[in-house]
């Protein structure tokens, strides 16, 4: 048999094989694209074409009923793991100049002398997000808001770069005969609380979560209470409210004390 006559209409085997393959193809197409979609309960198709497109995986927009819009300001910041990656020296320098107006509350090198949060070594994404949220009104604070609203987009980027560049307060937890709080180390899995460090930096940093070590106890307690009560709602899709709501008041006190411990030299520096 020569190759020529294999692919010939006179070859019965050829016709049969091609016929069977084409038949199977058609059958599976009809079953997969039309019969099976229609066999599903709970779905209605506008037309056979709709069924075929759906089965073939063409993305569709479903006209879902009018969403319930928030009656408060939600954060509009798009947070990604790669945001504000590599700041330039110029940006850090500009940030340093701008930061002079912040020093009175946040400290000359970003370590606060009062109960304002420390900013030194804070993740740039966390600073940037909070500044945007103060500006948009998603986070409200009578003292801080006026300073944020006057900042331009570039100012916020530069300030974030500068503060992130400053050396942060290290995690400092001298053994005082007390182990670290359970909730910090392990979270409370059955209450939907992941270990704090899985987002806040000790274990891993989820973009947008701030560094907490060395922050004042009063500040941490107030923020956790605000998340729990819903007074602070700028955390994206409730990720921090979900946690704070499940914490007991004792746990809140415990974590606040735990995170607030600072190395002695930095405490001295900030009280002078």
């Amino acid at each position: 048999m020569s190759a020529e006559s294999v692919f010939s209409l006179r070859n019965r085997w050829f016709i049969t094989a091609v016929g069977i393959t084409a038949g199977l193809f058609l059958l599976t197409a009809v079953v997969g694209l039309i019969v099976l979609p229609y066999a599903q309960r709970d779905v209605t198709f506008t037309s056979i074409w709709d069924a075929i497109c759906s089965a073939a995986g063409v993305p569709q927009v479903r006209s879902s009923a009018a969403p319930v819009q928030p009656d408060f300001k939600v954060s509009t910041v798009v947070v990604t793991a790669s945001m504000l990656g590599q700041p330039s020296q110029e940006s850090i320098g500009r940030g340093a100049t701008l930061a002079q107006q912040c020093a009175i509350c946040h400290g000359p090198v970003g370590v606060s002398r009062a109960d304002s949060p420390n900013l030194a070594g804070q993740y740039a994404s966390a600073i940037y997000k909070q500044l945007k949220d103060f500006t948009s009104g998603a986070r409200v604070n009578a003292i801080m808001t006026p300073f944020a609203v006057s900042l331009s987009e570039q100012d916020m980027v530069d300030l974030s770069a500068y503060y992130a560049y400053l050396p942060r307060l290290p995690a400092y937890h001298p053994e005082q005969g007390k182990p670290a709080p359970r909730i910090v180390v392990n979270g409370a899995p059955m209450r939907n609380i992941a270990a704090c460090g899985s987002c806040h930096g000790a274990l891993d940093n989820k973009a947008g979560s701030p560094w907490l070590e060395g922050q004042s106890a009063a500040y941490i307690r107030t923020q956790l209470q605000a998340f729990a009560s819903g007074a602070r709602r700028n955390d994206i899709s409730q990720q921090m409210r979900n946690i704070a709501r499940q914490m007991t008041p004792e746990e809140i006190d415990e974590v606040a004390q735990y995170y607030a411990s600072q190395p002695p030299q930095s405490r001295r520096a900030s009280s002078e």
């Binding site: 979609p37 309960r41 993305p59 969403p67 990604t80 992941a194 270990a195 274990l203 899709s237």
Partner: protein, 188 residues
């Protein structure tokens, strides 16, 4: 084979018979497997999702269907209930999902970061939440009660803390609640 001499006739016939039997057997196997898959697909609802829908994972919180105030259970005009939820490292929002008994439920969920899993214990609800896509499932709960809803897809270091609850309540009580709130959940 065309040039094989007559002595091999017997052998050729045996080979042809064996070949036919094996061919029949393999066709039967294929038909049975395809049949089982089709049966399971149609009768046990193990079909893939009917429609592919997309959602930008980075802007879910800003507006649209998955904005936080629109999450939870919504009573639809046709008597069914739509539940919307998102999975994120390391929680589901809403943290407690409230559904009525004896009502067709459509669950619409997506992820805002990495792949998560959504599994409701004691039911056949089990899907992946893939960032960028909306997972849609239908379900029906016969009895009131509470189910755990863990994330069943390792999503990073806080994964073991990612749980939600599903609370099934009497249909009448549920419908009563919808009269003063458009989206329901059981978060305390």
């Amino acid at each position: 084979m065309t040039s094989s001499p007559h002595i091999h006739d017997d052998g050729a016939a045996v080979a042809a018979r064996a070949e036919r039997r094996w061919a029949t057997l393999s066709i039967v196997i294929i038909v049975v497997i395809a049949g089982v898959a089709a049966f399971a697909g149609i009768h046990q609802a193990t079909m893939p999702q009917v429609r592919v829908e997309t959602a930008d994972p980075t802007t879910l919180h800003i507006g649209g269907e998955f904005v936080e105030t629109n999450l939870g259970s919504a009573a639809e005009p046709d008597g069914t209930v739509t539940v919307r939820a998102i999975g994120q490292r390391y929680s589901f929002t809403p943290q407690c999902i409230l559904v009525p008994t004896d009502t067709p439920i459509t669950l619409r969920a997506t992820s805002s970061d990495v792949v998560h899993g959504l599994l409701i214990q004691g039911t056949n609800v089990n899907t992946m939440l893939v960032p960028g896509y909306v997972s849609v499932l239908t379900a029906r709960f016969e009895k009131p009660g509470e189910h755990l809803m863990p994330c069943q897809e390792f999503c990073s270091i806080g994964h073991e803390g990612m749980w939600a609850r599903v609370k099934v309540i009497d249909k009448a009580a549920f419908m009563n609640m919808t009269s003063n709130r458009r989206r329901l959940d059981c978060v305390e």
